[in-house]
């Protein structure tokens, strides 16, 4: 299921933001690589809520949760399953 989410998400990002750039890796930072900006993040949120049928809470809208495909899929899984995803720890404490 996780792989299906990743594939679907990558297709959306490639179509919307990559403009023919090379394929995206799961851990690549979408913001550091200038693939997505804050406006793009809103488009991504709207897509996730609509196509993955999840409802994000205000506290989910954190740039850390959307930085990589892995983190986004973990968030989607968390929302769908009502549990924390398998990715990196959310909101790590320093």
């Amino acid at each position: 299921m996780r792989d299906d989410y990743k594939k679907q998400l990558k297709e959306f990002i490639a179509k919307k933001f990559l403009n023919g750039r090379a394929a995206l890796s799961d851990g690549e930072s979408l913001f550091a690589a200038n693939i997505i900006d804050s406006f793009g993040m809103l488009e991504l949120i709207a897509y996730i809520e609509k196509d993955f049928c999840v409802r994000l809470k205000p506290s989910d809208i954190d740039i850390d949760n959307f930085d990589t495909v892995d983190k986004i899929v973990s968030l989607i899984e968390e929302k769908k399953n009502g549990r924390k995803g398998q990715g990196e720890e959310k909101n790590p404490r320093f």
Binding site: L42, L56, D62
Partner: protein, 397 residues
């Protein structure tokens, strides 16, 4: 004389700082230096800054200890902070505006002046309390928070450093010997900032300001070149201050976030704003744009969010028509760029064009020209802006 005294005070505090062994002692020294620095602007300001820091620290404790009250504590703290900022920043302008309306009774001016650098304190405190609420900041002391919030090198004009970065750096074991390369680099940044501010920015100002102040009396080409010069002046002035702030912070071993990333080499307006005053851009993104417009996002919200963010970015400077004009002008620029980005997807020829060197140079020039024209809003009142625009865009020999 004041500059010499400040320089001596800085040298003494750097020497004392590196002779101290514990984190606590070093933070206490930084806090003492910061309070003395603010004290020179008025003793009440130092007290006021500490009071706000204490209020937010207390709200943070409530958030950490009482989960049932955490949302209320966050809301109260943010309302308190932003209420303070708006009251001090805008009360004079609002009173002045109300005096123009005959039916509103005249109110004597309150004589309040926003303590210089105070808005940066508010930005740091909002960041702190929001991250405490998210659970990303835990177990901090009042000394940590107050040293971070009032950190004197970045007190006057930023950058807005993030608390976890400051905290981590204050905990790193630091020996003066290992810091020599960084101290040398910090001295270089201070010198670079001084050159940018005192020589380049001020020299450009002496040339371009007289032309722009009496734009109608000068040729169109002189006014256009002065507009480009004005943007360079704004950059040299602000980035010069930032260089000095980073340099002084570096003398105490802190590596503060960069505020500019080659803004004049960006090929569109959105990328320009991501590389200009970066710490304020990311603050607005993380604590205004995303929390308010990110939730239940829709394409329409993006446009409203851009305009609202630009209003915050510019009206933070002051409540006046020229800053309102700057916000609308720059929002319009981003909307145009987004429309172009959309058109590129529909018209493959546009996409192909973008790949060649000529279009790259053109994009760079277009972006620089657009933001240069926008810089007029930052330096002149609305009447002055209109006079400059009229000289450039209306035909006259």
């Amino acid at each position: 004389m004041v500059l010499l005294e400040a320089l001596i005070a800085l040298i003494v505090s750097v020497i004392v700082y590196w002779s101290l062994r514990t984190t606590r002692a070093r933070l206490a020294l930084i806090l003492a230096c910061s309070l003395i620095f603010i004290f020179f602007f008025g003793s009440l300001y130092a007290f006021y800054a500490l009071l706000n820091t204490l209020a937010v620290y207390w709200a943070g404790k409530i958030i950490a200890r009482r989960p049932s009250s955490k949302k209320l504590a966050l809301q109260m703290a943010v309302i308190w902070l932003l209420g303070n900022l708006c009251f001090l920043k805008y009360s004079a302008a609002l009173l002045k505006a109300s005096s123009l309306i005959p039916v509103i009774p005249k109110v004597k001016e309150l004589g309040l002046l926003l303590p210089i650098g105070f808005s940066y304190i508010i930005f740091r405190l909002v960041h702190y309390i929001a991250e405490v609420y998210k659970g990303k900041i835990v177990n901090t002391s009042f000394l940590d928070l107050s040293a971070y919030v009032l950190f004197f090198p970045t007190f006057l004009c930023g950058p807005i450093e993030r608390f976890p970065v400051f905290y981590e750096q204050s905990r790193q074991p630091r020996e003066i010997g290992a810091q020599i390369p960084h101290l040398n680099y910090s001295l270089f940044r201070i010198a670079l900032g001084l050159v940018k501010k005192a020589f380049i920015a001020d020299s450009i100002a002496r040339v371009v300001m007289p032309v722009l102040i009496s734009a109608q009396a000068h040729s169109r080409i002189a006014v256009i070149l002065s507009v480009y010069g004005l943007m360079l002046r704004v950059y040299m002035d602000f980035s010069g201050y930032t260089d000095m702030a980073l340099g002084v912070a570096g003398l105490f071993g802190y590596r503060i976030v960069e505020n500019f990333n080659k803004p004049f080499l960006q090929k569109n307006i959105a990328m320009f704003w991501r590389s200009w005053h970066i710490s304020l851009y990311t603050w607005i993104r993380d604590y205004f744009f995303l929390p308010i417009f990110g939730y239940a996002a829709s394409p329409g919200k993006i446009y409203i969010g851009i305009l609202a963010s630009m209003l915050v970015f510019h009206l933070w400077h002051g409540l006046s028509l020229n800053f309102l004009g700057a916000a609308i002008y720059n929002s319009a620029g981003i909307f145009l760029w987004m429309a172009f980005r959309f058109a590129k997807k529909k018209v493959p020829a546009l996409n192909r064009m973008q790949g060649n060197a000529f279009s790259g140079v053109l994009a760079l020039l277009a972006t620089f020209s657009f933001v240069s024209l926008g810089s007029v809003f930052l330096m002149f009142d609305m009447g002055g802006c209109l006079a400059v625009f009229a000289r450039i865009f209306t035909w006259r020999a």
